[in-house]
Subunit: 440 residues, 2 copies
């Protein structure tokens, strides 16, 4: 059977990785796919630079429209990132009856519903394993491997940059700004790191995960997005003394509030027990923990970024399409795991409605009587305290930190209590609040 | 579209779990699969007992031939285990044009080649996610998620019983026999635990993994099979002092011996660095670590046995078949990951040819001069020593243990050196040899 023809748009880190892996492992891949997978055309901004990577193996053009309109191309691989241009090209490719593979989580988290509907109408596939957790086949696991289950929650370390920074902060006791600078020098963080450190990238991925896990549309605008840039080294240290690690988690879970089902969708720094496997995922690695009713907990671990790990997922999608293109489009694997006419409208909850445990750090002028006031406020709010760490003031100081871990309560409840705590005369400044998940 | 009809053979732990999960999650599963999945007939030995589980939801029969010959049944699920009867039924089902789902690792490790060839000839699928690592979708990850890669090695904790026993031995300092008895009382080990504790079950699974990872036929007879029944508590303790855990691993890897490619396929107790994620997989949990050239290391963790975790994989296969049955049988996912005409004949190596590191414990009469003799023997064999642990003799004793960790060498090389060590006058009894993998 003749090779399947690929058009590649973008030849940056992931594009070049995809080209190189396809070339190096072409024999292995052909033996698996039953057909060769051949890059017929590459569209890039800088044709000269691209020639240096692909040599004379395929046509290099400047205009991506040539790829999406090429009559011989079966699958368009979009690896330019961003929103408008990418969306335009992907929709054109779909409209031309081409399958699409993309690593663009931002595009899918914002425009996935429109893109998947267009693909469904045309009977083509849009595959995106590379968009979430890089080389880890987590989309496949959720969408195909766990189909028997009612999925209860997913919690993932799905941004390598922030996990690297948090690992270094803990390991070396350094502050955020210092480690960020090192991460930039090492290439683990971008020159403009905003999307990573403010949790936006993780929230894009969590949004896609939520849709697949629960059969809801992608709704990035409903996600709670909180990064690590204001996290202080001292809280990492206190957490450790209490037996916890702080990780930036993308969390989505089913919950019931006042008898009504809802979905939590949130990205924020999170304390997790140090003995959990996922707490020991260090450096730029990713891991996703899934809780589901039949299988229980499963965890998927690997590299969440980088040229070849991401290429691994891009090419897995190419092989999947090659293997499955002939299946009835009405019944083959649905883009968001559930058949398009079987999606539900369960609402994503505002943060005030979510339920979790909390780490609170209160900076107080003197300890006498303060503890009684704090515990009284929490007791009045029916918030149980799980652990307290009360530090001695440093020599010559009268101020000190009181750290409390609470049992589960609703966010609006803890926020109201924090308001009262901050109004106490002995309390200095703002209370530090970090959410805590037991993941048991 | 009308529901897909299932015939279930066997209603033991996994069969009942499959029935229960299919029933409980039928709505969720139908929303994913696009069709209902309905158990039309169950074949069991004890019809009365089965009625108590399935009620009046489906026909219960005593004769499994009625299932494999039933004209309305699309997929036969074989959950009786064992070899001859299961093989006979599976081949009949295939011959009748039915897809098959099985959790029977023993059957596939021994007769997989024949079964897959029959299925290929008939254009039906034989799915077996539940046969390896229970609820973890590792077959899917290897066969579909990592298709871009040249897989280099797979190392897995793929038997929950032995991992439970080893965790307890380490945690509580107990010996093998004591913990085995407890495991039997808790239901973690069978009345006849031979298949688990002697490594046979893990070797069945490793055999299937090797075939999928490297595109070779299943060859259980070539696997090296070694269990944990002769493992001593003291070696677990010494390993821990050196920074290692002992796990029963199923290992398969590519290697090159004298310029010729070969495959290692072996199950045995293995020292692994305590800081590795997989070293911290405790109790009855399973985990599989895959090394591949593009993605690097990925790890898959979850429950490896039990009614509902295994049912999770059985049902995932049912959904897969429902989704993919219409795809061209020549190109949809091949049973053993590679197209049948693209399998290779790379030989599985005898143990004497494998290369790894070793933990050696030598019991010696007195230490003076012995260490010089030991290191001389190893140096002559060009085996480097990575670490030594030399224990003081107990009070009033003159005999003691010397523990050495070696760098990588071939097994025949270490065995020859051990022969020389055991011939030393100061050495008492046999040298304890446990293989060590760095998994880095």
């Amino acid at each position: 059977m003749k090779p399947i023809k690929i058009g590649l748009i973008g030849l940056g880190v992931v594009g070049a990785g995809t080209f190189n892996v396809l070339k190096r492992n072409q024999e292995e891949i052909r033996r698996r796919a039953g057909r060769g997978i051949e890059i017929a055309m590459v569209a890039v901004r800088n044709v000269e630079r691209a020639r240096g990577i692909v040599g004379t193996d395929c046509e290099v053009v400047n205009d991506p429209e040539l790829v999406v309109n090429h009559p011989d191309i079966d699958i368009v691989v979009e690896l330019i990132g961003g929103y408008d241009t990418a969306k335009n090209l992907v929709l054109k490719a779909i409209n031309n009856g081409k399958h699409v593979v993309t690593a663009n989580k931002a595009l899918l988290a914002l425009h996935g519903n429109e893109i998947f509907a267009a693909a469904q109408a045309k009977g083509v596939m849009v595959a995106f394993e590379a968009a979430v957790a890089g080389g880890i086949p987590i989309i496949k696991a959720l969408r195909e491997g766990l189909t028997a289950n009612r999925i209860e929650s997913v919690a993932g370390i799905i941004n390598g940059t922030t996990n690297f920074i948090l690992s270094e902060m803990r390991d070396k006791g350094l502050d955020f700004a210092t480690v960020l600078k090192q991460a930039q020098e090492l290439g683990y963080a971008e020159a403009d790191p905003t999307f990573d450190i403010e949790g936006v990238d993780a929230a894009h991925k969590a949004t896609i995960i939520a849709a697949i896990a629960f059969g809801i549309p992608v709704q990035f605008d409903k996600a709670h997005v909180e990064g690590i840039s204001s996290l202080q080294a001292i809280d990492i240290r206190y957490a450790e003394q209490l037996g916890y690690r702080i990780k930036l988690l993308g969390i989505t879970k089913r919950t019931v509030v006042d008898g009504v089902e809802g979905i939590e969708l949130r990205v924020h720094p999170t304390l997790i027990p140090a003995k959990r496997l996922i707490a020991n995922v260090e450096g730029a690695m990713n891991a996703v923990l899934v809780q589901a009713d039949a299988v229980g907990a499963t965890l998927y671990y690997g590299k969440g970024a980088g040229a070849e790990p991401t290429a691994s997922s891009v090419i897995a999608d190419l092989v999947d399409i090659t293997r499955l293109a002939t299946a009835d489009p009405e019944y083959r694997v649905p883009h968001l795991a559930f058949q398009p006419n079987q999606m539900t409208n369960v609402a994503i909850l505002p943060m005030s409605e979510i339920t979790t445990s909390y780490y609170l750090r209160v900076y107080v002028k003197d300890q006498l009587g303060v503890m009684a006031d704090l515990t009284r406020i929490l007791a009045d709010a029916r918030i149980s305290i799980d652990a307290v760490l009360q530090k001695e003031p440093g020599e010559g100081e009268t101020r000190t930190d009181i750290i409390m871990l609470t049992h589960q309560t609703q966010e609006k409840n803890i926020d109201a209590a924090i308001g009262k705590i901050e109004a106490l005369g002995a309390v200095v400044g703002k209370v530090v609040k970090i959410r805590l998940e037991n993941l048991s």
